[in-house]
Amino acid sequence: MINTQVTIAGVTFKNPVMEGSGTFGSGMEYSEFVDLNRLGAVVTKGVANVPWPGNPTPRVCEVYGGMLNAIGLQNPGIEVFCERDLPFLSKYDTKVIVNVCGRSVEDYVEVVERLSDEPRADMLEINVSCPNVKEGAIAFGTDPAALSNITKEIKAHTKKPVIMKLTPNVTNIAEMARVAEEAGADAISLINTITGMKIDIERRRFALANKTGGMSGPAIKPIAVRMVYQASHAVKIPVIGMGGIATAEDAIEFMMAGATAVSVGMMNFVNPYATAECVDGIEKFLESHGIADINELIGCV
C-alpha cells in the first residue's frame, strides 16, 4: 500500500493535491468536472467580512504561458459564504481550507472569529498577498513587521490552524517565511501571483482596467519552485507550494523542492480535470518508482 497522505498542522489530507484559492470558486463550478472527494482539500475563494464588488473589467488577460488577473477579491462576504458555500462543501469527503482576505487587521479578525465555530472549515489560509486590491492587503505581505503583527493577531483569535499565504513580490522570501513562522503561523503557502502588466499597443491602453494584475500559470513555475525551496529551507512549518502546476510532474517538482502539499491554480481554467489528473499521476509516479510513502519526496532534492 502506497501512502499518499500528508499532514499539515495536525490536519491529515488524503493526498497533497489542492487547488489555488480563487481559481476554483468554492468547488461548485468544478464539481461538474472533478469529483471533489478525490482532492486533498478544497481551498475556497478569498472571503471578507462584508461583500466586495471587486475591480472593474477587463479583469483578466492572457500572457505568454499564463494570465494576469485583477479580480480584486470580489466575494459575497462571510455570511453568504457560511450559509451557502460551507454547507455545499460539507457534502464532500475532503478537507476545507477557507481563504480569508481583508483591508485591515480587524477585517481579517472578524472573518476568522466568525469561522471559529464552523466545523466545516478545517484550516484558514490568510491572503496577505493579493496584489490587486488598493487598500494595502499586499502591504501585510511585503512588510515583515506588518506580516508578523497580522499573523499574531489572527492566531490570537482562532484555534484553527492558520496558513499564511505569502507574496512572491519580495526581495527575500526566506525572511518572510521566518517572520510568519516566528509569529505563530502553522504553515505557509506560496506563491500568490506576481505583479505583471500588459499593454495593448494598438489601443495604447492597459490590458487590465487595474493597469497591473497578478501573473499566474506555467510561465511563473521556476520562480515559484525557487521560492518554495528557499522558504521551506528557512522554516520548520510545512509549506504548500503553487505557481503554474499543470501536471503530476509539476506537483512532484514542488514537493521535491520542499512543499508538503501543492495547489493547482490557473491551470484549472485550461484543464478542468487538472487536479484529478495530478492525484492520479502522483499515484502512478510513486508506484512506478517504488516509493511507499509520498512524504519521502518532500524536500528530497
Binding site: P51, P53, R59, M67, N69
Partner: protein, 264 residues
C-alpha cells in the same frame, strides 16, 4: 454537463475576408443551444486560455456544431488553418442561451410572437441558430443584420428562417448605417429583441427597446468560462445571486441578459 472534449473538424470555409465557418463533430452538440458558446483551445502553448466562440449552428442530427468567427488574434488565426480531419479541443457547452420559453410566452394566443433579431458584425453568427430555433418554435422572426460593407455573410441562411433586412456602415448593401437605422427605415414591428454585437450597438438597443424586452448577448474577457474565476462580470441592476455585489458572471449567468437587468 460541461466537458472538455476533443472534436473533429468536418469542414472549414472562408465566408468573407477574415471570417471563417468551422463545422466540428463533437458530443457537445447534443446539448448546445442558441446563445451558448464553447471555449476553443489553441495548440499554442503560449496561448493557454480557451477562446469563447458562440454556437452558430447545431446539425440536425445533433452531432456537430458550427462556429463562425473572425480572425482577431493568434488563437482565431490558428483556428482558421484547421482542416478537415484535424482535432480541436473544446470546453462546453458554456453559458445560458436565449430563453425560448420566455420569448414564446411574450405573445398572446392569436398572433405569433414577433422576435426581432439584431446582429452586428461578428454578432451575426449566433443569431442564425437562434432564428432557426425560434422559427421551429413557431415564433415569427425578423432578422436585421449589420455589416461593415458588402462583405456580408450568412444572409442566405437567415432568409430560410426569417424576414431578413441588412444594414451596412458604408451603405453598400441594405440600409446605410447600423441595424437600428434599418429597423427604423423599414418600420419593423416586434414584441421583443434578441441581439448580439458590439457594446455601442447593444447600448443603443437597450435604449431603443423602450418597454419591450430585449435579450442581449454580452462579451467580456474570460479565463475559466465556467463561473469560477469571476473574471467576466457585468454590473447588474439587482444584487447578483452569486457574489451578492451586483456583478453577474457573463460566462455562466449570461452571456444573454435582459437589457434592463445589466448596466452597460
Amino acid at each position: 454537463m460541461k466537458r472538455k472534449t476533443v472534436g473533429k473538424v468536418l469542414s472549414q470555409k472562408c465566408l468573407a475576408p477574415g471570417i471563417y465557418d468551422l463545422e466540428i463533430a463533437t458530443c457537445l452538440a447534443s446539448d448546445a443551444a442558441a446563445g451558448q458558446f464553447v471555449g476553443v483551445y489553441t495548440k499554442d502553448a503560449s496561448a493557454l486560455l480557451p477562446r469563447p466562440i458562440s454556437i452558430c449552428g447545431v446539425s440536425d442530427d445533433r452531432k456537430s456544431i458550427r462556429l463562425v468567427y473572425r480572425i482577431a488574434g493568434k488563437g482565431t488565426d490558428e483556428f482558421s488553418r484547421l482542416k478537415e480531419g484535424d482535432e480541436v479541443t473544446l470546453l462546453g457547452v458554456l453559458g445560458n442561451g436565449y430563453d425560448l420559453d420566455k420569448i414564446k410566452s411574450l405573445g398572446n394566443n392569436d398572433t405569433p410572437v414577433r422576435a426581432l433579431l439584431l446582429g452586428g458584425g461578428i454578432g451575426v453568427p449566433p443569431m442564425l441558430e437562434l432564428s432557426r430555433e425560434l422559427a421551429a418554435a413557431g415564433v415569427k422572426v425578423i432578422s436585421v443584420m449589420g455589416y461593415r460593407n458588402s462583405d456580408t455573410f450568412l444572409l442566405d441562411e437567415f432568409k430560410k428562417y426569417s424576414d431578413t433586412y441588412v444594414a451596412s456602415e458604408d451603405g453598400s448593401v441594405g440600409t446605410k448605417g447600423n441595424v437600428l437605422d434599418a429597423v427604423r427605415e423599414n418600420t419593423i414591428e416586434f414584441d421583443c429583441i434578441c441581439a448580439c454585437g458590439p457594446l455601442p450597438m447593444l447600448r443603443a438597443i437597450k435604449e431603443f427597446a423602450g418597454g419591450k424586452p430585449a435579450f442581449i448577448s454580452l462579451e467580456e474577457r474570460m479565463a475559466c468560462g465556467v463561473g469560477a474565476c469571476l473574471g467576466c462580470v457585468v454590473k447588474t441592476r439587482d444584487i447578483d445571486h452569486h457574489s451578492h455585489v451586483n456583478n453577474a458572471r457573463i460566462c455562466t449567468d449570461g452571456p444573454v441578459f435582459e437589457a434592463s437587468e445589466v448596466e452597460i
